[in-house]
């Protein structure tokens, strides 16, 4: 009861929590600083640099405050949980934030309202931070909404007709999804009496309450998460939004909100996994969603002519793979999912950086990539490597991550003997074959078709340096996945 907590205790809890909360505080103050500066000054570079500084600071503090405790610390009266799992994802968010800032800086289409743009970007990252740390339904809802509202606005920053349409669709779809999720959450709260879901008590409640309503409620809650990760059937917003949004925002969307969603989904699923003995087969459900996402994403992508739409469907399919890792319902699977997510983030940014580069050269459709490979070799080769990594072929980390994902699935099948997992495995791997088609289409046009388009070749671009770093990372993580896995291994998943 709140009344029993004395004021000094409360303050102590808050100050203690705040010590673990430095990155988020930095981001918050960053938002405020950006807005205040925005009242006085204009200019993209200034805000880019400011945001870069904020993200770097946040990143540094995450690394400094890397949680080493065996038992994760709960912050702000059990609202948040500061564990290594969330810290790891937060690193991905901040790195992605940095990359997005850089992409935004070099994007010529983002020409106005920079302070607001970067502030909202930062707010979304903050939301992602909070979301992956949340263990309380209220907190989940609020941080999810922070991400969502920020995202609705970010789409509109292209200030075009299509952008407004994208915002609208995203908004309508997102609001309905979060309403459904919220309804589910309230039901769970009502039936268990608990808002904090990441506890053993909650898991026991799930096991003991043999209520269909609870299951439906959880299902509706998952619906909201599925919306965030763009999993089928909550995916249709993705292609439209990706097409409408500016390129840096697309890149950002394909990583940060998605991985934040995956993060909270993981927490939720880990609880469901503990209650694996309940009469409802969550594993099958997640597997089916994964299968659907893989299928819908891959098959629809075959039709696309617009690179952004293509990447949207690709991201849906990649969600399928992330869910595949989760559907193993094992700690191992989550670790591998994290590996997959990290690689996915790197690769996706690699691809989007070059898509933006090509877009700036006037290439907006797949056909216009024709012959680009001859004039701009390095960007074409790098984008090829990125797409191969997305397909999951060696020698890229994309392969390693798929290998890991399916390993955990196999392991899970071995442990449970559920044939749905076997099907998922076969399905997922065969989908890899399909995905090859559309992933290879950009290189196909670039290298094989002849085009008249003359793009000026300039090797010494910052894109190429950054691209080179990402490519190296992708290759190195194939030859030595231990660099990352060693780190991920230290993450524990205690409830």
């Amino acid at each position: 009861m709140s009344g029993e907590i004395t004021l000094p205790d409360t303050i102590e809890v808050i100050t203690e929590s705040a010590a673990q909360f430095v990155p988020e505080l930095i981001l918050t103050s960053g938002i405020l600083v950006l807005i205040c500066v925005g009242l006085l000054r204009r200019g993209k570079s200034l805000f880019s640099i400011l945001s870069a500084i904020v993200f770097t600071a946040s990143l540094t503090t995450i690394l400094i405050h890397w949680p080493t405790d065996e038992v994760p610390r709960l912050l702000f009266f059990d609202m948040l949980k500061a564990d290594s799992f969330s810290s790891y994802l937060k690193i991905i968010f901040d790195v992605s934030g940095l990359l997005t800032v850089w992409m935004s800086w070099s994007n010529h289409k983002l020409s106005q309202r920079h302070s607001e743009y970067f502030a909202i970007l930062m707010a979304v990252v903050l939301g992602a931070h909070l979301l992956v740390m949340s263990v309380n339904f209220a907190m989940v809802f609020i941080s999810l909404e922070l991400i969502s509202i920020g995202s609705y606005v970010l789409v509109g920053f292209a200030f075009s007709k299509k952008a407004s349409e994208g915002s609208l669709k995203y908004f309508l779809f997102g609001s309905v999804s979060s309403a459904i999720m919220l309804y589910g959450m309230t039901m769970i709260y009502g039936l268990t009496g608990m808002m904090n879901f990441s506890t053993i008590d909650f898991a026991m409640q799930l096991i003991n309450t043999r209520s269909s309503l609870l299951f439906i409620a959880a299902l509706m809650t998952l619906g909201g998460f599925f919306f965030k990760v763009a999993a089928t059937p909550f995916h249709p917003w993705a292609p439209d939004v990706y097409e409408a949004a500016p390129m840096p925002v697309v890149a950002f969307f394909s990583v940060v909100p998605k991985l934040a969603g995956i993060g909270i989904l993981t927490r939720f699923i880990l609880v469901l996994g503990v209650s694996g003995h309940s009469s409802y087969d969550w594993q099958t459900l997640i597997s089916i969603v994964a299968m659907l996402s893989l299928t819908v994403g891959n098959f629809s992508a075959l039709w696309q002519k617009n690179p952004k739409r293509l990447m949207a469907y690709s991201s849906i399919a990649q969600t399928g793979f992330l869910l595949t890792a989760l559907s193993s319902f094992m700690d191992q699977g989550v670790q591998f999912m994290l590996f997959y997510a990290s690689v996915y983030a790197l690769v996706n940014f690699l691809v989007f950086i070059y898509l933006q580069y090509f877009e700036s050269q006037g290439i907006h459709s797949l056909e216009s990539f024709s012959g680009v490979g001859k004039t701009t070799l390095i960007p074409s080769v790098f984008i090829l490597i990125g797409l191969i990594a997305l397909t999951g072929l060696p020698p890229t980390a994309g392969f390693t991550s798929k290998l890991f994902v399916f390993s955990s699935l196999w392991e899970s099948y071995q442990a449970s003997g559920k044939s749905i997992l076997l099907w998922l495995m076969v399905f997922g791997l065969l989908n890899t074959v399909i995905s090859l088609f559309y992933y290879l289409r950009i290189p196909y046009f670039a290298f094989i078709k002849h085009g008249t388009f003359q793009v000026k070749t300039d090797f010494l671009r910052f894109e190429n340096l950054l691209g080179l770093l990402l490519v190296l990372a992708i290759l190195i993580l194939f030859f030595n996945p231990g660099l990352l896995m060693g780190w991920i291994n230290k993450i524990n998943f205690v409830l």
């Binding site: 929590s17 702000f76 909202i120 922070l146 509202i149 920020g150 606005v153 075009s160 439906i216």
Partner: protein, 168 residues
């Protein structure tokens, strides 16, 4: 049946009826007003469910705030287009399938839930209590909600202040 019960079911029925009407009305403005009635009925229910503060917030924020804005928006959009406030219904079958199934499933499941049929013993949460909770236990969501507000304000301003120069 005492007055509270009567009031409760009165509000329930009003809310339900207005919601149903809302579904069927073809006039946007009527819809907005119907929603106001629904929300006010809900506020009444909250009061009867011993959640006074929520009720107040409901009346203040929704009925007083949002709906006024909505009515402004209705005026604004219909003025630009010059069309009457009538609207069509589309996807009726889709809507009926989804809405109907959700309703049936939920009602069916809720009715099967024995725990929900007992009449709970409840108590009134004072505003004082809520205030303390807001500053202690719920300090973080409170702060974050502030940021959400900030973001949505900025966002709304971004949208509102840009005028379409050329439709592309």
């Amino acid at each position: 049946m005492n007055i509270a019960t009567f009031m409760f079911y009165f509000f329930v029925i009003t809310a339900a009826l207005t919601a149903i009407l809302l579904l069927f009305t073809k006039n946007v403005l009527h819809g907005a007003f119907l929603l106001i009635i629904t929300l006010l009925s809900l506020a009444g229910i909250y009061v009867l469910a011993l959640a006074e503060f929520i009720a107040v917030a409901q009346i203040l924020i929704y009925a007083g705030g949002i709906l006024v804005v909505i009515i402004f928006a209705i005026m604004l959009t219909s003025k630009v287009s010059g069309k009457p406030l009538q609207l069509e219904h589309g996807n009726v079958i889709n809507g009926m399938i989804v809405g109907g199934s959700f309703f049936l499933v939920l009602v069916f499941l809720i009715s099967r839930e024995e725990g929900l049929k007992v009449i709970p013993q409840s108590r009134l949460a004072t505003i004082n209590e809520l205030g303390i909770a807001l500053m202690t236990e719920y300090s973080l969501p409170f702060e974050v909600a502030g940021i959400v507000l900030l973001v949505s304000l900025i966002g709304a301003s971004v949208f509102a202040s840009t005028t379409p120069t050329r439709p592309d």
